[in-house]
């Protein structure tokens, strides 16, 4: 059972809905409205069941993700958060034996699992950055323009423009502008990850999915990626899977907590980290799970 709360309702035990809580125990208080109050829904996941072969990995997920906001997916390993992330741009199509038995995902009202949806086209709109940076064994320049070359863009002026814009967007331009034709693999780990982000934004997606983008990075590189996320959300919708509670707290506007394939709680990040409604959420964010 999912607890989706913006105003707080106390719960006495995990997995309990707030419906039977005495109303007298909550108060109307004046509070600063969350900026999320003004956000539109971009992605809607409805009644979503997902299987790897015979093993069910996601159970009845219902979730609305806000446009131009950062949403963090958190939860212990194996809870389904990365699986759900990959469902948002049909990356799981590439794995044999995966199937959706119920429900669906809509991006701006369009069912992404619809028959007429081209998954390649979808992945242009919903880009992805992985845990381990994976630049192509090509130059920095060629990494960025790879997607555009596939799209058939040939104009050098256009490609140059996109390279600069994307590298600036990924806060990497100043560090690499004099060596654009060196290998992407010559960069440091943090720079490689930002190169991958630049490559993703080069095709101007609407959504950027990030699967533990900082788990292999040192604190300085992590801070740069976090700063970047903060900048990118002005232009893109970002969904980030992270094992770092502090990263989720720092970077995201909303947080969804998953456990054993179920969405347990989804609320403003401020709420999740100050007063989660669910005891399991509280135990997890406080590092006391288990």
């Amino acid at each position: 059972m999912v607890t989706t709360t913006s105003s707080r309702t106390p719960l006495s035990s995990p997995m309990e809905t707030p419906a039977d809580t005495p109303a007298s125990r909550t108060f109307k208080v004046s509070s600063v409205p969350s900026e999320d109050d003004r956000a539109d829904t971009l992605i809607e996941i409805k009644d979503f069941d997902f299987y790897y072969g015979t093993k069910q990995a996601l159970f009845d997920i219902n979730l609305k993700l806000d446009d131009k906001r950062v949403t963090a997916f958190i939860g212990p390993s194996g809870c389904g958060k990365s699986t759900l992330l990959r469902c948002l741009n049909r990356m799981n199509d590439l794995i044999d034996g995966t199937r959706i038995t119920r429900g669906g995902v809509k991006v701006r009202g369009v069912d992404i699992y619809g028959r007429d949806v081209d998954s390649i086209e979808l992945r242009k709109r919903v880009g992805m950055v992985f845990q381990k940076s994976n630049p192509f064994p090509k130059s920095i320049y060629e990494n960025i323009v790879y997607g555009l070359r596939i799209q058939g863009v040939k104009s050098k002026a256009r490609l140059d423009e996109v390279v600069e814009k994307s590298l600036r967007g990924a806060a990497l331009w100043d560090e690499v502008k004099d060596r654009l034709h060196e290998s992407g693999l010559s960069l440091s780990g943090g720079q490689q990850q930002r190169l991958c982000i630049a490559r993703t934004i080069a095709v101007e997606p609407e959504v950027i999915l990030m699967d533990e983008p900082c788990s292999a990075l040192d604190p300085i590189a992590t801070a740069k990626v976090e700063e970047l996320i903060h900048e990118l959300k002005k232009q893109f919708t970002i969904i980030i899977v992270t094992h770092s509670m502090q990263q989720a707290a720092r970077c995201s506007d909303k947080t969804a907590f998953f456990y054993m394939g179920k969405l347990i709680e989804y609320a403003d990040t401020r709420t999740i980290f100050m007063n989660p409604a669910n005891a399991q959420t509280e135990a997890y964010v406080s590092g006391r799970f288990g």
């Binding site: 105003s7 707080r8 106390p10 109303a23 007298s24 125990r25 909550t26 108060f27 109307k28 208080v29 509070s31 509670m245 502090q246 707290a249 980290f273 100050m274 007063n275 989660p276 509280e282 135990a283 964010v285 406080s286 590092g287 006391r288 799970f289 288990g290």
Partner: protein, 228 residues
């Protein structure tokens, strides 16, 4: 899951409970010293204030250390924040008790202006409010905390009534002025103690529910918070 630093939070909680006990004892003894003209007891109250000062510093240090090294979240974070705020209120309660004790020493040197009735009654309410607020720290009983907030008006009303009464004593006879002024200050101290108890009750609501109920007029007027 139990964590190796859980005992630090227990120590923190114990420190705050200890502060609550000491501050209540200080107020009770200060009033007793006043009513019974017991200079020895008043001196004890004055001397014992150092313990509250030390406890406040200890709680602050532990809270800062815990936030720095353990990065608390949710209930733990609220506990540490509330602990710091409540300990400050309790330290101020101690200061008011000391102030009452000092005035009790001065008043003991003269015959009483009038029989002590309203001041002990008012102090009794303030002490109950303090005790209830601190009980809420252990029980998380929101209704009890709200009752403390609502009771503050009772103490305010007695303070106003005493102010009027003592003013008339002063107008009546200039020789009463010194004693009446001391009693006015004592009444004001008790009124402040009740304010600190109210603050603590509000802090305990925040601890239990992460809701800020400070300065909600509807809470004081209607006796019931708006439900929502």
């Amino acid at each position: 899951m139990k964590r190796f630093f859980d005992s630090e939070l227990e120590t923190f909680r114990s420190g705050l409970i200890r502060m609550g006990e000491v501050s209540i004892r200080q107020v009770r003894d200060a009033i007793k010293a006043l009513v019974e003209s017991d200079v020895g007891l008043a001196d004890q109250v004055i001397a014992a204030d150092d313990e509250l000062d030390d406890l406040e510093k200890q709680i602050d240090n532990e809270a800062i250390r815990y936030m720095n090294l353990r990065a608390p979240i949710a209930t733990e974070l609220r506990l540490v924040i509330v602990g710091m705020k409540a300990s400050h209120d309790l330290e101020r309660v101690g200061d008011e008790a000391t102030s009452i004790a000092k005035r009790a020493v001065k008043l003991a040197a003269e015959p009483p202006l009038k029989a002590y009735v309203d001041i002990p009654r008012m102090a009794g309410i303030a002490i109950e409010m303090l005790r209830d607020a601190m009980d809420t720290f252990l029980s998380g009983d929101i209704e009890k905390a709200l009752a403390v907030v609502r009771r503050d008006k009772e103490v305010d009303d007695i303070n106003k009534q005493l102010y009027r009464e003592l003013s008339s004593y002063m107008i009546e006879k200039p020789g009463n002025i010194t004693r009446a002024l001391e009693l006015m200050f004592i009444s004001k101290s008790i009124e402040r103690i009740a304010d600190h108890a109210t603050n603590i009750a509000e802090e305990m609501v925040f601890l239990a529910q992460a809701q800020d109920i400070r300065h909600l007029e509807e809470l004081k007027k209607s006796g019931r918070p708006a439900v929502g």
